[in-house]
């Protein structure tokens, strides 16, 4: 029965990584396209990309922390 918890945690972690990867990838591709079209706006684009990037990363890390909590709860 305990193994099922582990499978759940593992699947959840994988899904988190997929979600964060897609999000960050889209952000980076859009930023790269924007800079390629308008190289002079590179500073502004980088500044605008930073904040959503960190918020996105924060959500992914929250998910990982909760996955870890589930793991620890099932163990102890």
């Amino acid at each position: 029965m305990e193994d099922l918890f582990l499978i759940g945690v593992g699947l959840g972690l994988g899904l988190i990584v997929i979600g964060a990867g897609i999000g960050i990838g889209r952000l980076a591709s859009a930023a790269a396209e924007g800079i390629a079209r308008q190289p002079e706006a590179a500073d502004k684009i980088t500044g605008a990309v930073n904040l959503p990037l960190f918020l996105l990363e924060g959500v992914a890390i929250l998910g990982e922390v909760f996955a870890l909590l589930v793991l620890l709860m099932t163990r102890g």
């Binding site: 500044g47 904040l51 960190f54 918020l55 890390i61 929250l62 990982e64 922390v65």
Partner: protein, 308 residues
Amino acid sequence: MSVSESGHSSGTVLEQVGDNIIHHVSNSSLDQPLIHLPPIFGINISVTKHVLMLWVVAALVSIFVIVPIQKYMKKEKPVPSGWMNAIEAIVSFIRDAIVKPNIGSKFTDTWAPMILTFFFFILFANGIGLIPIFDTLGATSRFLFDVPKGDDHYFVNKLLHGGATVTGNFNVTAGLAALTFFAIIIAGSKAHGFIAHWKNLKPKGFSIPISIMLILIETLGMFVKPFALTMRLAANMTGGHIALLAILSFMAIFAEMVNPLTGIGLSLFAVPMAAAISGLEIIVVLVQAYVFTLLSAVFIGMAINVHH
């Protein structure tokens, strides 16, 4: 280094590795404090590893940031030189690129000192976790001075328990995020008045049922913001160290499960990999200090520049 220090646990290497990694990133146990202090109001306030590291970080920030700046300000003609150049570059970057665009030029001078304090403290606390001070100290005392490894009467052996990165401890980052939480309220009160700050939580121009929902979401958001700050910093600082230790532990695991030669062969990959991750960690250290200060500035700015 990592596997030989676990000490108390027994069993196969595979069983020890998990506990050993946790042992290297978490705080040292309250049962074996570095300095024993009597409890106050039933709270055990003995000094553990992370508390000691907090003091070390505070001392380092004082020596390398506060003292040079105080000296510099007292000069007749303030012209930065040497170390002061670096500090001035960082200070002006944070003020002009983080605080001013997010908080606005009216309140820049009010909040820049706090944001700068966050940055320097987090930078020093993150950075000191990358320097293997205690591992070097432990190895020196064991191999040069023959201190037995289980003996906790030696202060150096006590120092070996627990990790050195204070920002990897959720309590420390929660403390920092609590400062941001109160700073948001104070910033809103200063800019709009205490009552008006809470009224700003309610978005204007919606019907009553939607307003009620939005107020609930805004109230929730008030607590989620510092919580996310707490988790982001602590998890990032812990995660890198765990990955580093896990990769180094592969050597010991494979050496026991297959044969010692495999372990030695694996070290040819594990050690450069660990070095590369350490390099990545240097970036993470800088980025996380930047992120915490940027997001604090953004949240404070959101309370000041309310737009509907």
